[in-house]
Amino acid sequence: MIQEEKTVVLELLGVEKSYPGNPPVRALRGIDLLVRKGELLALVGTSGSGKSTMLNVMGALDRPTAGNVLIEGQDLSNLSDRQLSSLRGRRIGFIFQQFHLIAGMSAVENVSAGLLYQGISRSRRHSNAITLLHRVGLGDRLAHLPHQLSGGEQQRVAIARALMGEPAIILADELTGNLDSKTSEEIIDLLHQLNRDGSTIVVVTHDGAIAHSFPGMVTLLDGLVANDSRAA
Protein backbone atom coordinates (compact mmCIF):
# COMPACT_ATOMS: atom_id res chain seq x y z
CA MET A 1 0.00 0.00 0.00
CA ILE A 2 2.68 2.44 1.06
CA GLN A 3 4.78 1.48 -1.99
CA GLU A 4 1.89 2.35 -4.28
CA GLU A 5 1.76 5.88 -2.90
CA LYS A 6 5.41 6.63 -3.66
CA THR A 7 5.83 8.65 -6.84
CA VAL A 8 7.26 6.90 -9.85
CA VAL A 9 10.48 8.67 -10.83
CA LEU A 10 11.43 6.57 -13.81
CA GLU A 11 9.68 4.04 -15.95
CA LEU A 12 10.88 1.83 -18.81
CA LEU A 13 8.19 0.27 -21.02
CA GLY A 14 9.29 -2.43 -23.45
CA VAL A 15 12.61 -0.74 -23.99
CA GLU A 16 14.81 -2.21 -26.72
CA LYS A 17 18.19 -1.05 -27.90
CA SER A 18 20.09 -2.40 -30.89
CA TYR A 19 23.49 -1.27 -32.03
CA PRO A 20 24.00 -1.26 -35.78
CA GLY A 21 26.22 -4.05 -37.10
CA ASN A 22 26.04 -7.24 -39.05
CA PRO A 23 24.11 -8.76 -37.40
CA PRO A 24 22.92 -5.89 -35.17
CA VAL A 25 23.71 -6.23 -31.45
CA ARG A 26 20.48 -6.42 -29.46
CA ALA A 27 21.76 -5.03 -26.18
CA LEU A 28 18.28 -4.54 -24.63
CA ARG A 29 15.44 -6.76 -25.72
CA GLY A 30 12.29 -5.44 -24.06
CA ILE A 31 12.80 -4.10 -20.58
CA ASP A 32 10.05 -3.01 -18.21
CA LEU A 33 11.18 -1.32 -15.05
CA LEU A 34 9.83 1.05 -12.43
CA VAL A 35 11.94 3.17 -10.08
CA ARG A 36 10.14 4.99 -7.30
CA LYS A 37 11.19 8.00 -5.33
CA GLY A 38 13.63 7.20 -2.54
CA GLU A 39 14.77 3.84 -3.91
CA LEU A 40 18.35 2.54 -3.79
CA LEU A 41 18.54 -0.03 -6.54
CA ALA A 42 21.37 -2.27 -7.72
CA LEU A 43 21.54 -3.30 -11.37
CA VAL A 44 23.58 -6.49 -11.79
CA GLY A 45 24.34 -8.95 -14.54
CA THR A 46 27.16 -10.55 -16.41
CA SER A 47 29.46 -8.52 -18.58
CA GLY A 48 27.73 -7.59 -21.81
CA SER A 49 24.25 -8.16 -20.39
CA GLY A 50 23.31 -4.54 -21.20
CA LYS A 51 23.67 -2.75 -17.86
CA SER A 52 25.52 0.31 -19.15
CA THR A 53 23.28 0.51 -22.18
CA MET A 54 20.23 0.46 -19.94
CA LEU A 55 21.65 3.11 -17.63
CA ASN A 56 22.37 5.41 -20.61
CA VAL A 57 18.84 4.96 -21.88
CA MET A 58 17.43 5.64 -18.38
CA GLY A 59 19.46 8.83 -18.15
CA ALA A 60 18.42 10.14 -21.58
CA LEU A 61 22.04 9.97 -22.74
CA ASP A 62 20.88 7.53 -25.42
CA ARG A 63 17.55 6.89 -27.13
CA PRO A 64 15.98 3.41 -27.13
CA THR A 65 15.41 1.73 -30.49
CA ALA A 66 11.90 0.83 -29.35
CA GLY A 67 9.77 1.25 -26.23
CA ASN A 68 9.27 4.23 -23.96
CA VAL A 69 11.27 5.93 -21.23
CA LEU A 70 9.34 8.12 -18.79
CA ILE A 71 11.08 10.41 -16.36
CA GLU A 72 8.79 11.89 -13.72
CA GLY A 73 5.88 10.95 -15.97
CA GLN A 74 7.29 12.61 -19.09
CA ASP A 75 7.71 10.41 -22.15
CA LEU A 76 11.10 11.13 -23.67
CA SER A 77 10.37 9.72 -27.11
CA ASN A 78 8.86 12.98 -28.38
CA LEU A 79 11.60 15.22 -27.02
CA SER A 80 14.16 16.95 -29.22
CA ASP A 81 17.87 16.67 -28.57
CA ARG A 82 17.78 20.13 -26.96
CA GLN A 83 14.97 19.06 -24.67
CA LEU A 84 16.73 15.81 -23.73
CA SER A 85 19.94 17.70 -22.94
CA SER A 86 18.06 20.18 -20.79
CA LEU A 87 16.26 17.39 -18.97
CA ARG A 88 19.54 15.59 -18.24
CA GLY A 89 21.03 18.74 -16.80
CA ARG A 90 18.04 19.38 -14.59
CA ARG A 91 16.74 16.00 -13.44
CA ILE A 92 19.52 13.40 -13.76
CA GLY A 93 22.79 13.01 -11.89
CA PHE A 94 25.46 10.79 -13.42
CA ILE A 95 28.38 9.04 -11.71
CA PHE A 96 30.92 7.15 -13.82
CA GLN A 97 33.48 4.43 -13.13
CA GLN A 98 36.30 6.67 -14.32
CA PHE A 99 35.08 9.66 -12.27
CA HIS A 100 35.21 11.92 -15.35
CA LEU A 101 36.10 15.11 -13.55
CA ILE A 102 37.05 17.95 -15.89
CA ALA A 103 40.81 18.48 -15.87
CA GLY A 104 42.07 21.91 -14.94
CA MET A 105 39.07 22.69 -12.77
CA SER A 106 39.20 22.61 -8.95
CA ALA A 107 36.96 20.36 -6.85
CA VAL A 108 34.58 23.24 -6.22
CA GLU A 109 34.46 24.15 -9.90
CA ASN A 110 33.85 20.54 -10.92
CA VAL A 111 30.94 20.21 -8.48
CA SER A 112 29.69 23.63 -9.44
CA ALA A 113 29.65 22.49 -13.08
CA GLY A 114 26.71 20.29 -12.08
CA LEU A 115 24.54 23.38 -12.52
CA LEU A 116 26.72 25.19 -15.09
CA TYR A 117 24.12 24.94 -17.83
CA GLN A 118 21.17 26.02 -15.69
CA GLY A 119 21.93 29.72 -15.89
CA ILE A 120 22.47 29.90 -12.14
CA SER A 121 24.93 32.49 -10.87
CA ARG A 122 28.46 31.34 -10.22
CA SER A 123 28.46 32.47 -6.61
CA ARG A 124 25.29 30.53 -5.83
CA ARG A 125 26.64 27.45 -7.56
CA HIS A 126 29.92 27.74 -5.67
CA SER A 127 28.27 28.03 -2.28
CA ASN A 128 26.07 25.00 -3.10
CA ALA A 129 29.15 23.13 -4.28
CA ILE A 130 31.03 23.88 -1.05
CA THR A 131 28.11 22.65 1.04
CA LEU A 132 27.96 19.42 -0.98
CA LEU A 133 31.72 18.87 -0.78
CA HIS A 134 31.43 19.10 2.99
CA ARG A 135 28.56 16.64 2.82
CA VAL A 136 30.68 14.05 0.97
CA GLY A 137 33.55 14.62 3.41
CA LEU A 138 35.82 16.76 1.22
CA GLY A 139 35.49 20.08 3.02
CA ASP A 140 39.28 20.34 3.15
CA ARG A 141 39.92 19.68 -0.57
CA LEU A 142 37.95 22.49 -2.14
CA ALA A 143 40.68 23.99 -4.29
CA HIS A 144 42.38 20.72 -5.26
CA LEU A 145 42.60 19.86 -8.92
CA PRO A 146 41.50 16.36 -10.04
CA HIS A 147 45.07 15.10 -10.43
CA GLN A 148 45.80 16.20 -6.86
CA LEU A 149 43.04 13.95 -5.48
CA SER A 150 43.01 10.20 -4.75
CA GLY A 151 40.60 7.99 -6.70
CA GLY A 152 38.18 7.83 -3.76
CA GLU A 153 38.30 11.60 -3.37
CA GLN A 154 37.70 12.12 -7.09
CA GLN A 155 34.67 9.86 -6.90
CA ARG A 156 33.34 11.85 -3.94
CA VAL A 157 33.69 15.01 -5.99
CA ALA A 158 31.79 13.29 -8.82
CA ILE A 159 29.06 12.26 -6.36
CA ALA A 160 28.78 15.82 -5.10
CA ARG A 161 28.50 17.00 -8.72
CA ALA A 162 25.69 14.49 -9.35
CA LEU A 163 23.86 15.81 -6.29
CA MET A 164 23.89 19.42 -7.52
CA GLY A 165 20.42 20.73 -8.21
CA GLU A 166 18.70 17.83 -6.39
CA PRO A 167 18.11 15.59 -9.40
CA ALA A 168 15.12 13.24 -9.54
CA ILE A 169 17.45 10.28 -9.90
CA ILE A 170 21.16 9.51 -9.66
CA LEU A 171 22.58 6.91 -12.05
CA ALA A 172 25.94 5.36 -11.24
CA ASP A 173 27.83 2.96 -13.52
CA GLU A 174 30.43 0.81 -11.68
CA LEU A 175 31.28 3.75 -9.47
CA THR A 176 33.60 1.61 -7.31
CA GLY A 177 35.17 -0.24 -10.23
CA ASN A 178 38.40 1.75 -10.02
CA LEU A 179 38.66 1.81 -6.22
CA ASP A 180 40.17 -0.52 -3.62
CA SER A 181 37.79 -2.44 -1.38
CA LYS A 182 38.10 -0.16 1.65
CA THR A 183 37.48 2.96 -0.41
CA SER A 184 34.60 1.22 -2.21
CA GLU A 185 33.00 0.47 1.12
CA GLU A 186 33.23 4.11 2.14
CA ILE A 187 31.70 5.23 -1.14
CA ILE A 188 28.86 2.72 -0.81
CA ASP A 189 28.28 3.90 2.78
CA LEU A 190 28.04 7.42 1.40
CA LEU A 191 25.41 6.28 -1.13
CA HIS A 192 23.41 4.68 1.71
CA GLN A 193 23.66 7.95 3.61
CA LEU A 194 22.49 10.01 0.63
CA ASN A 195 19.63 7.57 0.07
CA ARG A 196 18.57 7.93 3.70
CA ASP A 197 18.56 11.69 3.11
CA GLY A 198 16.10 11.17 0.26
CA SER A 199 18.06 10.61 -2.98
CA THR A 200 16.83 8.06 -5.52
CA ILE A 201 19.82 6.06 -6.74
CA VAL A 202 20.39 3.29 -9.29
CA VAL A 203 23.83 1.65 -9.23
CA VAL A 204 25.25 -0.71 -11.84
CA THR A 205 27.66 -3.11 -10.16
CA HIS A 206 29.02 -6.59 -10.50
CA ASP A 207 30.06 -6.70 -6.86
CA GLY A 208 27.60 -9.10 -5.20
CA ALA A 209 28.31 -7.82 -1.69
CA ILE A 210 27.45 -4.27 -2.69
CA ALA A 211 24.33 -5.39 -4.54
CA HIS A 212 23.10 -7.41 -1.59
CA SER A 213 23.57 -4.47 0.77
CA PHE A 214 20.97 -2.55 -1.29
CA PRO A 215 17.25 -2.76 -0.60
CA GLY A 216 16.52 -3.63 -4.24
CA MET A 217 18.36 -5.56 -6.95
CA VAL A 218 17.51 -6.08 -10.62
CA THR A 219 19.42 -8.72 -12.57
CA LEU A 220 19.88 -8.45 -16.32
CA LEU A 221 20.59 -11.36 -18.59
CA ASP A 222 21.14 -10.93 -22.31
CA GLY A 223 19.23 -7.67 -22.49
CA LEU A 224 16.26 -8.89 -20.45
CA VAL A 225 15.33 -8.52 -16.75
CA ALA A 226 16.03 -11.99 -15.37
CA ASN A 227 15.17 -11.22 -11.78
CA ASP A 228 13.77 -8.29 -9.77
CA SER A 229 14.24 -8.73 -6.01
CA ARG A 230 11.55 -6.14 -5.35
CA ALA A 231 8.87 -8.22 -7.03
CA ALA A 232 9.06 -10.85 -4.34
Binding site: G73, R82, S85, R88, F94, Q98, I102, G114, Q118, G119
Partner: protein, 406 residues
Protein backbone atom coordinates in the same frame (compact mmCIF):
# COMPACT_ATOMS: atom_id res chain seq x y z
CA UNK B 1 2.06 15.66 -15.92
CA UNK B 2 3.94 17.76 -18.41
CA UNK B 3 6.49 20.06 -16.92
CA UNK B 4 7.01 23.48 -18.49
CA UNK B 5 10.64 23.09 -19.40
CA UNK B 6 13.08 25.78 -20.50
CA UNK B 7 16.25 24.87 -22.36
CA UNK B 8 19.66 24.71 -20.77
CA UNK B 9 21.46 28.01 -20.77
CA UNK B 10 24.79 29.40 -19.63
CA UNK B 11 25.64 32.87 -18.41
CA UNK B 12 28.02 35.02 -20.42
CA UNK B 13 30.65 34.99 -17.66
CA UNK B 14 30.48 31.19 -17.41
CA UNK B 15 30.72 30.83 -21.18
CA UNK B 16 33.95 32.85 -21.06
CA UNK B 17 35.25 30.60 -18.29
CA UNK B 18 34.39 27.46 -20.27
CA UNK B 19 35.81 28.88 -23.50
CA UNK B 20 39.16 29.73 -21.93
CA UNK B 21 39.60 26.46 -19.99
CA UNK B 22 41.32 24.58 -22.78
CA UNK B 23 43.81 27.40 -23.35
CA UNK B 24 44.48 27.89 -19.64
CA UNK B 25 45.24 24.20 -19.12
CA UNK B 26 47.47 23.82 -22.22
CA UNK B 27 49.64 26.91 -22.07
CA UNK B 28 52.59 25.73 -24.15
CA UNK B 29 50.38 24.47 -26.93
CA UNK B 30 48.38 27.68 -26.82
CA UNK B 31 51.51 29.77 -27.17
CA UNK B 32 52.98 27.73 -30.01
CA UNK B 33 49.71 27.67 -31.93
CA UNK B 34 49.11 31.38 -31.46
CA UNK B 35 52.66 32.02 -32.71
CA UNK B 36 51.70 31.13 -36.28
CA UNK B 37 49.00 33.78 -36.35
CA UNK B 38 51.28 36.21 -34.51
CA UNK B 39 53.94 35.92 -37.21
CA UNK B 40 51.44 36.52 -40.00
CA UNK B 41 49.87 39.52 -38.29
CA UNK B 42 53.28 40.92 -37.30
CA UNK B 43 54.45 40.64 -40.91
CA UNK B 44 51.42 42.50 -42.20
CA UNK B 45 51.46 45.15 -39.49
CA UNK B 46 55.16 45.83 -39.92
CA UNK B 47 54.83 46.08 -43.71
CA UNK B 48 51.97 48.53 -43.30
CA UNK B 49 53.73 50.34 -40.48
CA UNK B 50 57.01 50.68 -42.36
CA UNK B 51 55.24 51.85 -45.52
CA UNK B 52 53.20 54.30 -43.52
CA UNK B 53 56.26 55.53 -41.62
CA UNK B 54 58.13 56.04 -44.85
CA UNK B 55 55.14 57.98 -46.23
CA UNK B 56 54.92 60.03 -43.07
CA UNK B 57 58.63 60.72 -43.30
CA UNK B 58 58.27 61.86 -46.88
CA UNK B 59 55.30 64.05 -46.00
CA UNK B 60 57.21 65.65 -43.18
CA UNK B 61 60.19 66.20 -45.48
CA UNK B 62 57.94 67.75 -48.09
CA UNK B 63 56.30 69.88 -45.46
CA UNK B 64 59.73 71.03 -44.31
CA UNK B 65 60.78 71.80 -47.87
CA UNK B 66 57.67 73.76 -48.43
CA UNK B 67 54.81 72.53 -50.52
CA UNK B 68 54.29 76.17 -51.50
CA UNK B 69 57.21 76.06 -53.95
CA UNK B 70 56.21 76.34 -57.59
CA UNK B 71 58.36 75.65 -60.60
CA UNK B 72 57.45 77.77 -63.62
CA UNK B 73 58.88 76.60 -66.95
CA UNK B 74 58.19 77.38 -70.58
CA UNK B 75 56.28 74.59 -72.26
CA UNK B 76 54.77 74.46 -75.70
CA UNK B 77 52.16 76.87 -76.99
CA UNK B 78 49.00 75.28 -78.41
CA UNK B 79 50.47 75.69 -81.88
CA UNK B 80 53.32 73.43 -80.85
CA UNK B 81 55.99 76.12 -81.03
CA UNK B 82 58.45 76.39 -78.17
CA UNK B 83 57.79 79.43 -76.07
CA UNK B 84 60.23 81.56 -74.13
CA UNK B 85 59.61 83.79 -71.15
CA UNK B 86 60.05 87.57 -71.18
CA UNK B 87 63.24 88.74 -69.54
CA UNK B 88 61.37 90.31 -66.62
CA UNK B 89 59.16 87.24 -66.03
CA UNK B 90 60.44 86.71 -62.49
CA UNK B 91 59.58 90.25 -61.46
CA UNK B 92 56.12 89.94 -63.02
CA UNK B 93 55.47 86.80 -61.00
CA UNK B 94 56.66 88.40 -57.80
CA UNK B 95 54.17 91.24 -58.23
CA UNK B 96 51.22 88.83 -57.98
CA UNK B 97 49.52 89.29 -54.59
CA UNK B 98 49.58 85.64 -53.51
CA UNK B 99 53.25 85.16 -54.50
CA UNK B 100 55.71 85.85 -51.72
CA UNK B 101 58.96 85.71 -53.65
CA UNK B 102 60.46 84.42 -56.86
CA UNK B 103 63.83 83.70 -58.37
CA UNK B 104 64.93 83.19 -61.96
CA UNK B 105 67.35 80.60 -63.32
CA UNK B 106 69.14 81.10 -66.68
CA UNK B 107 70.79 78.51 -68.83
CA UNK B 108 74.44 79.19 -69.69
CA UNK B 109 75.49 77.61 -72.97
CA UNK B 110 78.72 75.96 -71.95
CA UNK B 111 79.99 72.54 -71.06
CA UNK B 112 81.23 71.77 -67.57
CA UNK B 113 84.31 69.58 -67.38
CA UNK B 114 86.80 68.60 -64.70
CA UNK B 115 89.68 69.97 -66.82
CA UNK B 116 90.67 70.88 -70.40
CA UNK B 117 91.82 67.34 -71.29
CA UNK B 118 88.36 65.85 -71.09
CA UNK B 119 86.53 65.99 -74.42
CA UNK B 120 83.75 68.55 -74.68
CA UNK B 121 81.10 65.91 -75.34
CA UNK B 122 81.81 64.25 -72.01
CA UNK B 123 79.88 66.61 -69.79
CA UNK B 124 78.27 63.99 -67.61
CA UNK B 125 74.94 65.72 -68.02
CA UNK B 126 76.01 68.67 -65.94
CA UNK B 127 74.40 71.96 -66.88
CA UNK B 128 75.75 75.42 -66.21
CA UNK B 129 73.16 77.74 -64.71
CA UNK B 130 73.23 81.38 -63.75
CA UNK B 131 71.24 82.09 -60.62
CA UNK B 132 70.53 85.02 -58.34
CA UNK B 133 71.57 85.00 -54.71
CA UNK B 134 68.11 84.18 -53.34
CA UNK B 135 67.86 80.97 -55.32
CA UNK B 136 69.24 78.78 -52.53
CA UNK B 137 66.77 79.87 -49.90
CA UNK B 138 64.06 79.59 -52.53
CA UNK B 139 64.49 75.83 -52.89
CA UNK B 140 65.26 75.42 -49.20
CA UNK B 141 68.69 74.28 -50.19
CA UNK B 142 71.69 74.04 -47.92
CA UNK B 143 75.44 74.19 -48.46
CA UNK B 144 77.17 70.94 -47.56
CA UNK B 145 80.72 72.19 -48.15
CA UNK B 146 82.18 75.67 -48.49
CA UNK B 147 79.79 78.52 -49.18
CA UNK B 148 77.16 79.81 -51.61
CA UNK B 149 77.61 82.69 -54.06
CA UNK B 150 77.60 86.15 -52.55
CA UNK B 151 77.73 89.69 -53.98
CA UNK B 152 81.44 89.54 -54.73
CA UNK B 153 81.80 85.93 -55.92
CA UNK B 154 78.78 86.35 -58.22
CA UNK B 155 80.89 88.48 -60.55
CA UNK B 156 84.00 86.25 -60.35
CA UNK B 157 84.74 82.92 -62.11
CA UNK B 158 83.49 80.89 -59.20
CA UNK B 159 80.87 78.15 -59.13
CA UNK B 160 78.86 76.24 -56.59
CA UNK B 161 78.12 72.64 -57.52
CA UNK B 162 74.86 70.81 -56.98
CA UNK B 163 75.23 67.57 -55.02
CA UNK B 164 74.88 65.28 -58.04
CA UNK B 165 77.13 67.47 -60.20
CA UNK B 166 79.85 67.39 -57.54
CA UNK B 167 79.65 63.65 -57.30
CA UNK B 168 79.86 63.23 -61.09
CA UNK B 169 82.87 65.52 -61.27
CA UNK B 170 84.49 63.65 -58.41
CA UNK B 171 84.72 66.70 -56.19
CA UNK B 172 84.04 66.02 -52.55
CA UNK B 173 85.66 68.96 -50.83
CA UNK B 174 86.29 72.63 -51.47
CA UNK B 175 89.26 72.85 -49.11
CA UNK B 176 91.92 72.72 -51.82
CA UNK B 177 89.98 75.07 -54.11
CA UNK B 178 89.26 72.54 -56.86
CA UNK B 179 88.55 73.89 -60.28
CA UNK B 180 86.25 73.02 -63.13
CA UNK B 181 86.71 73.93 -66.77
CA UNK B 182 83.93 75.86 -68.55
CA UNK B 183 84.49 76.47 -72.27
CA UNK B 184 88.02 77.89 -71.88
CA UNK B 185 88.00 79.25 -68.35
CA UNK B 186 88.83 77.54 -65.12
CA UNK B 187 86.24 78.32 -62.40
CA UNK B 188 86.99 77.75 -58.73
CA UNK B 189 84.51 75.59 -56.84
CA UNK B 190 83.66 77.50 -53.69
CA UNK B 191 80.78 75.39 -52.45
CA UNK B 192 78.92 72.10 -52.77
CA UNK B 193 75.21 71.94 -52.09
CA UNK B 194 73.43 69.34 -50.01
CA UNK B 195 70.86 67.17 -51.76
CA UNK B 196 67.84 69.23 -52.76
CA UNK B 197 65.07 66.76 -53.55
CA UNK B 198 62.68 69.50 -54.67
CA UNK B 199 65.07 70.86 -57.29
CA UNK B 200 66.69 68.04 -59.26
CA UNK B 201 67.75 70.60 -61.92
CA UNK B 202 69.85 72.42 -59.37
CA UNK B 203 71.35 69.18 -58.03
CA UNK B 204 72.74 68.46 -61.48
CA UNK B 205 74.19 71.89 -62.23
CA UNK B 206 77.16 74.16 -61.74
CA UNK B 207 75.83 77.49 -60.50
CA UNK B 208 77.39 80.86 -61.14
CA UNK B 209 76.42 84.50 -60.77
CA UNK B 210 74.43 86.20 -63.52
CA UNK B 211 77.10 88.92 -63.95
CA UNK B 212 80.02 86.59 -64.69
CA UNK B 213 77.80 84.44 -66.92
CA UNK B 214 76.81 87.44 -69.01
CA UNK B 215 80.43 88.55 -69.18
CA UNK B 216 82.02 85.27 -70.24
CA UNK B 217 79.35 83.27 -72.03
CA UNK B 218 76.43 83.38 -74.35
CA UNK B 219 73.75 83.83 -71.69
CA UNK B 220 70.13 83.56 -72.74
CA UNK B 221 68.43 86.64 -71.35
CA UNK B 222 65.10 84.79 -71.00
CA UNK B 223 64.83 82.79 -67.77
CA UNK B 224 64.42 79.09 -68.44
CA UNK B 225 63.04 78.40 -65.00
CA UNK B 226 61.41 80.50 -62.30
CA UNK B 227 60.97 79.37 -58.73
CA UNK B 228 58.17 81.02 -56.79
CA UNK B 229 56.92 80.71 -53.25
CA UNK B 230 53.22 81.30 -52.83
CA UNK B 231 51.42 82.35 -49.68
CA UNK B 232 51.10 79.40 -47.24
CA UNK B 233 47.43 80.12 -46.74
CA UNK B 234 46.78 78.86 -50.30
CA UNK B 235 47.77 75.35 -49.28
CA UNK B 236 44.53 74.82 -47.43
CA UNK B 237 42.43 76.20 -50.26
CA UNK B 238 42.78 74.25 -53.49
CA UNK B 239 40.55 76.67 -55.42
CA UNK B 240 42.65 79.73 -54.60
CA UNK B 241 45.80 77.72 -55.22
CA UNK B 242 44.65 76.77 -58.72
CA UNK B 243 43.59 80.34 -59.29
CA UNK B 244 47.09 81.56 -58.46
CA UNK B 245 48.55 79.09 -60.92
CA UNK B 246 46.38 80.49 -63.71
CA UNK B 247 47.20 84.05 -62.73
CA UNK B 248 50.93 83.21 -62.89
CA UNK B 249 50.57 81.69 -66.35
CA UNK B 250 48.52 84.64 -67.59
CA UNK B 251 50.98 87.16 -66.14
CA UNK B 252 54.08 85.55 -67.59
CA UNK B 253 52.67 85.08 -71.10
CA UNK B 254 49.44 87.07 -71.44
CA UNK B 255 49.16 86.01 -75.10
CA UNK B 256 49.80 82.30 -74.61
CA UNK B 257 49.15 81.28 -70.96
CA UNK B 258 48.84 77.64 -71.99
CA UNK B 259 52.54 77.75 -72.88
CA UNK B 260 53.46 78.23 -69.22
CA UNK B 261 53.83 75.14 -67.12
CA UNK B 262 53.33 75.75 -63.41
CA UNK B 263 54.10 72.63 -61.42
CA UNK B 264 54.63 71.83 -57.81
CA UNK B 265 57.85 69.78 -57.26
CA UNK B 266 56.49 68.27 -54.04
CA UNK B 267 53.61 66.70 -56.02
CA UNK B 268 56.06 65.00 -58.37
CA UNK B 269 58.08 63.71 -55.46
CA UNK B 270 54.99 62.36 -53.74
CA UNK B 271 53.91 60.61 -56.94
CA UNK B 272 57.30 59.01 -57.40
CA UNK B 273 57.16 57.21 -54.05
CA UNK B 274 53.85 55.49 -54.78
CA UNK B 275 55.70 53.14 -57.12
CA UNK B 276 56.86 51.25 -54.03
CA UNK B 277 53.35 49.87 -53.63
CA UNK B 278 53.89 46.78 -55.78
CA UNK B 279 56.57 45.57 -53.38
CA UNK B 280 54.38 46.34 -50.39
CA UNK B 281 51.64 44.22 -51.97
CA UNK B 282 54.00 41.28 -52.31
CA UNK B 283 55.04 41.48 -48.66
CA UNK B 284 51.43 41.75 -47.57
CA UNK B 285 50.70 38.66 -49.63
CA UNK B 286 53.45 36.78 -47.78
CA UNK B 287 51.90 37.88 -44.49
CA UNK B 288 48.54 36.60 -45.70
CA UNK B 289 50.07 33.23 -46.54
CA UNK B 290 51.59 33.06 -43.04
CA UNK B 291 48.15 33.81 -41.63
CA UNK B 292 46.56 31.08 -43.71
CA UNK B 293 49.13 28.58 -42.49
CA UNK B 294 48.51 29.80 -38.94
CA UNK B 295 44.78 29.29 -39.44
CA UNK B 296 45.30 25.74 -40.67
CA UNK B 297 47.53 25.14 -37.62
CA UNK B 298 44.75 26.30 -35.33
CA UNK B 299 42.18 24.08 -37.04
CA UNK B 300 44.58 21.16 -36.68
CA UNK B 301 45.22 21.77 -32.99
CA UNK B 302 41.51 22.23 -32.35
CA UNK B 303 40.70 18.89 -34.00
CA UNK B 304 43.28 17.21 -31.78
CA UNK B 305 41.87 19.01 -28.77
CA UNK B 306 38.34 17.78 -29.54
CA UNK B 307 39.58 14.20 -29.78
CA UNK B 308 41.51 14.50 -26.52
CA UNK B 309 38.59 16.06 -24.71
CA UNK B 310 35.95 13.59 -25.85
CA UNK B 311 35.05 12.66 -22.27
CA UNK B 312 34.87 16.27 -21.16
CA UNK B 313 32.43 16.90 -23.99
CA UNK B 314 30.39 13.84 -22.94
CA UNK B 315 30.31 15.04 -19.34
CA UNK B 316 29.17 18.49 -20.37
CA UNK B 317 26.38 16.95 -22.46
CA UNK B 318 25.41 14.79 -19.45
CA UNK B 319 25.37 17.95 -17.32
CA UNK B 320 22.88 19.52 -19.71
CA UNK B 321 25.00 21.31 -22.31
CA UNK B 322 23.23 21.67 -25.65
CA UNK B 323 25.09 20.95 -28.88
CA UNK B 324 25.16 24.72 -29.39
CA UNK B 325 26.97 25.19 -26.07
CA UNK B 326 29.66 22.72 -27.10
CA UNK B 327 30.00 24.34 -30.51
CA UNK B 328 30.27 27.78 -28.94
CA UNK B 329 32.89 26.56 -26.48
CA UNK B 330 35.22 25.35 -29.22
CA UNK B 331 34.61 28.19 -31.67
CA UNK B 332 35.25 30.64 -28.84
CA UNK B 333 38.41 28.81 -27.85
CA UNK B 334 39.66 28.83 -31.42
CA UNK B 335 38.82 32.50 -31.94
CA UNK B 336 40.45 33.40 -28.64
CA UNK B 337 43.56 31.42 -29.53
CA UNK B 338 43.85 33.37 -32.78
CA UNK B 339 43.06 36.64 -31.00
CA UNK B 340 45.98 36.01 -28.63
CA UNK B 341 48.17 35.50 -31.68
CA UNK B 342 46.70 38.64 -33.22
CA UNK B 343 47.43 40.77 -30.18
CA UNK B 344 50.98 39.38 -29.94
CA UNK B 345 51.28 40.00 -33.69
CA UNK B 346 50.29 43.66 -33.57
CA UNK B 347 52.62 44.27 -30.64
CA UNK B 348 55.45 42.56 -32.50
CA UNK B 349 54.59 44.34 -35.76
CA UNK B 350 54.48 47.71 -34.01
CA UNK B 351 57.84 46.99 -32.35
CA UNK B 352 59.39 46.05 -35.69
CA UNK B 353 58.03 49.24 -37.25
CA UNK B 354 59.27 51.44 -34.41
CA UNK B 355 62.70 49.80 -34.43
CA UNK B 356 63.08 50.01 -38.19
CA UNK B 357 61.72 53.55 -38.50
CA UNK B 358 63.86 54.87 -35.69
CA UNK B 359 66.96 53.13 -37.06
CA UNK B 360 66.39 55.22 -40.20
CA UNK B 361 65.46 58.36 -38.29
CA UNK B 362 62.03 58.30 -39.80
CA UNK B 363 58.83 59.69 -38.43
CA UNK B 364 57.16 56.70 -36.70
CA UNK B 365 53.67 56.01 -37.96
CA UNK B 366 51.72 52.84 -37.16
CA UNK B 367 48.23 53.10 -38.61
CA UNK B 368 45.83 52.43 -35.73
CA UNK B 369 43.19 51.04 -38.07
CA UNK B 370 45.66 48.36 -39.13
CA UNK B 371 46.06 47.35 -35.47
CA UNK B 372 42.32 46.93 -35.04
CA UNK B 373 42.08 45.21 -38.41
CA UNK B 374 44.95 42.88 -37.42
CA UNK B 375 43.14 41.59 -34.35
CA UNK B 376 39.86 41.49 -36.26
CA UNK B 377 41.44 39.45 -39.04
CA UNK B 378 42.98 37.06 -36.51
CA UNK B 379 39.62 36.57 -34.78
CA UNK B 380 37.94 35.95 -38.14
CA UNK B 381 40.56 33.35 -39.07
CA UNK B 382 40.28 31.69 -35.65
CA UNK B 383 36.51 31.56 -35.91
CA UNK B 384 36.61 29.99 -39.36
CA UNK B 385 39.34 27.56 -38.28
CA UNK B 386 37.23 26.57 -35.26
CA UNK B 387 34.01 25.87 -37.15
CA UNK B 388 34.82 22.35 -38.28
CA UNK B 389 36.39 21.10 -35.01
CA UNK B 390 33.52 22.65 -33.08
CA UNK B 391 30.96 20.97 -35.32
CA UNK B 392 32.69 17.65 -34.71
CA UNK B 393 32.62 18.25 -30.97
CA UNK B 394 28.93 19.14 -31.06
CA UNK B 395 28.09 16.05 -33.13
CA UNK B 396 29.64 13.64 -30.62
CA UNK B 397 27.12 11.18 -29.28
CA UNK B 398 26.98 11.77 -25.49
CA UNK B 399 26.58 8.07 -24.60
CA UNK B 400 29.57 7.26 -26.80
CA UNK B 401 31.62 10.08 -25.33
CA UNK B 402 31.27 9.05 -21.68
CA UNK B 403 32.06 5.38 -22.39
CA UNK B 404 35.24 4.27 -20.60
CA UNK B 405 38.22 4.52 -22.92
CA UNK B 406 40.47 1.59 -23.59
Amino acid sequence: MTRKMGFSRISFADAIGVGTLGLRTRKTRTMLTALGIAIGIAAMISVLGITSSSDAQLKSELAALGPNLLEITPGESFTGAEVSFPEDASKVVERIGTVESSSAVFVVNTSVRRNEFIPKQQTGGIAALAVDLEMLSMIDGAVAEGQFLDLSSASLPKVVLGSVAAERLGITSTRRSPQVFLDDTYFTVIGILAAAPLAPNIERAALMGVEIAAELFDLQPEPSLIYARVNESLLDDQRRFDETRSVIAASVLPDAPSGVSVSRPSDLLAARTSTQNAFTGLLLGLGAVALLVGGVGIANVMVISVIERRTEIGIRRALGALRGHIRLQFVFESALLAALGGVAGIILGALITVTYASSRDWVISVPTTSLGAGVGLAVAIGTIAGLYPAARAARLDPAEAVRPRV
